[in-house]
Symmetry: C4
Subunit: 258 residues, 4 copies
């Protein structure tokens, strides 16, 4: 199956900017992007599914299943010059190749939609709890550092970050080949696995909304985090079970429901 | 090779309904679907092979080998408005991507045959033995819960099931993108690995035949289970051997017969 | 790269029969097929390379490298009605999917060359040393058992063999879909890993040459085994090193030569 | 995504010779090729990215990220008859198939550029420290040994080397099918993982520049090694973390930054 983007609606968007939030350390990016969607009442128009996600469906409530997927939302910005496309997802690829494939499919899709700029939202594991998380920036073009240094972003990144693993980093790397400027905003977090960090998400959102010149109320962020937690735990429990031991493959066979 | 469906006969079917039973917990779905095929004397018309199955052939009896495969049968329903297509299989995919590929190939095939609805049969591991297993339902459209709630199906599924792993769940998820309504019927079972659970299969079959409005005699179910056990054990022994240790890859090399 | 067959010469062959010998338990098939090539002075006409083999080259002698590959030889049978195509190889696939891909590519190639019948040569691990190894047969069509039961082949195979792992078995399974009758001849062997078993190879060769009605001198078989041993050990040493521990991937990185 | 070569400039080159240096034991090849690029002031004209590299980006300095990649440089040789194409890379494939795919994509690219000959530079692990490392040669055609035996190359290779693992060996193997003569120059090194060995690189460079009849100053080699070390350590730290334990897959999930 590889990776597919299923489009439900083809909105006409004005110089769109793309914002990405997939699960990761502290779920910082996922929570921030998800919250932005709720606050802006952004409208869903496409879904991405991939054979690089876990081969499961989720039963979030009642009896209707959902595939593991990423979702695309758009928001028409009446007061500004850029509309937004926001992507959130349930998971990252479970194998190395999948990260490349998924990110490249998305970037191709964005190119077709004439996306002008990309913001990848992420967490940065600093190993300790912090009350005032900084936002560390990474870019795919030095001009972006110049452009955004007036915002509250730390740009001595190479001293803090050796490599960026997974989708957020590849969005910058691959977008460069497609001529799209891209910035990664990483909120400092303690790096507790699968534990959402609303403070870090808030820090990232503050910088992002200043850059985009939009206003949102961040007071309900904690609430959003709680809602998300339950859903993510269903996925994470399965993931843990599938990868918990060297004999994972064998046990995988044993735990199939159907 | 990827995944191939080899078609031996092209039956003309009347608004066909598709029923799927692959191996899994308690082999509930596999046994139920296999028994239905025997009772209805359904006719085989296609086979599916895949490089996502184990790279082995089985010697079920005498000296003739069989590939690991799934098989498609049809049944013309003289008294009702829907003919049936029933699929049973020897195995699920041995790698994560394969589940997606196999299920999507089957769903494409069903779409071409104008299949109107899908029932995926499966087991649900509840960790304890039960004399009266319930049948838990999952759907890919909330309308299906509405349609089937009058049957003996438990639909508070999200409280019982976090995720459905493997083919049965993906049939629901992927069929949705192809516009085919799909329901998963999961028989409660104790979850003993590779141990068929005829009671659970019977519970699933009862609900399914009521929905389909067909009558079958379930008294020979235990017998079918015994027959299947021997065959499945040959596959499972190989599977165990291949995946039994962290050094499986090495040993795999050592245990090649040819 | 997947799997490629590179053809150096297009011989016109008369109703060719295909004989396959890849490494496996006791290297029974590889040794038997290799010896047949030497005795018949069969001529090489094609090679198969695959990204499912180990990513190495071998330095068998002097300084010239050889890829891991399978090789195809032909032999024109002046006194009989069937010419021969014989394939030997350095390795089997190192991943499960590769077995399917490699075998299917070969079978497609054989179909184009109008191959009439296939013999896959292999070893059968019986766990103990035996002075008089039996030859156990498996077929992809019950008619073949009928045809070959007058030869010295044991056909109560299902009692001795649950599954046949790897290429030899898949040759039977996949050839069936291409309409080519195929028989696997398995020489009993003690199953010592990577230890060639000339006695078992001899038993297989005796049956095969009787069926083909050709005469070869088997007295130099031990010599052939010694020659092959040294070459195979170079491959096996690398294989051992690559797959020796759960952290194989890491160490693989460390042991690169270039 | 597979493997892609992105070309920035299409230089017209005179009978080009290709030199390859990817990371490996002692980083001998990578350091030698990188130093040659600096000394010759060779010009970058293409990049290779691949989903067979680690799914990460690197932050070498400031805030601008770099993908894991290989880079192609050309050098116009005003005084000789062959221009040069030199490739260096950050990594080899992290999975076995990737080595085949990456090397074949490069060889196809070289064929289109009419490359006349290939030199793959590599290290050869001899397990002990040596003050005067020898250069051991491997070729894809015995004529090359004849051609280069007058240089300071040891050609009793099969006694020293069983197999060559990874890209350097496959360049020889695959280039042969494309009709390009190729030689691997392996500098003896102690095989300390990820520890660059400038002495071995120097030995390889001396032989190579004699063959190519070009002059370079090797006195700054130590300096180049230091510069490279820092950059490589960022990649290696991530690689270590990703593959450090049997549960690597799980932890991989936990250490995602974004």
């Amino acid at each position: 199956m590889a990776t597919k983007i299923i489009v439900f609606e083809k909105p006409k968007l004005k110089k769109p900017i793309f914002i990405e939030g997939l699960p990761g350390v502290g779920n910082v990016g996922r929570v921030a992007a998800g919250y932005l969607i709720e606050e802006l009442k952004a409208k869903k128009f496409a879904e991405l599914i991939s054979s690089h996600f876990m081969p499961i469906v989720i039963v979030p409530q009642n009896s209707t299943v959902e595939m593991v997927k990423a979702e695309f939302f758009y928001w028409k910005n009446k007061n500004g010059k850029n509309d937004l496309i926001i992507m959130i997802g349930d998971s990252q690829s479970i194998d190395p190749e999948g990260h490349y494939e998924i990110v490249e499919e998305v970037v191709k899709f964005l190119k077709k939609m004439n996306v002008e700029e990309i913001f990848a939202l992420a967490g940065l594991n600093i190993g300790i709890m912090t009350e005032r998380p900084k936002v560390v920036g990474a870019v795919n073009d030095p001009k972006l550092e110049e452009k955004y240094k007036k915002y509250n972003i730390v740009f001595d990144t190479s001293k803090r970050v050796g490599t960026i693993v997974g989708a957020a980093g590849l969005f910058l790397g691959i977008a460069k080949y497609y001529g799209i400027p891209a910035t990664c905003l990483m909120g400092e977090t303690s790096g507790m696995p699968f534990l959402p960090d609303p403070k870090s998400s808030e820090a990232v959102l503050k910088v992002l909304t200043q850059i985009l010149n939009i206003k949102i109320d961040t007071s309900k962020l904690e609430e959003e985090v709680k809602k998300m937690k339950e859903f993510m735990q269903k996925i994470e429990a399965t993931q843990m079970q599938m990868f918990q031991s060297p004999t994972a493959k064998k046990e995988e066979g044993l735990t199939y429901i159907g």
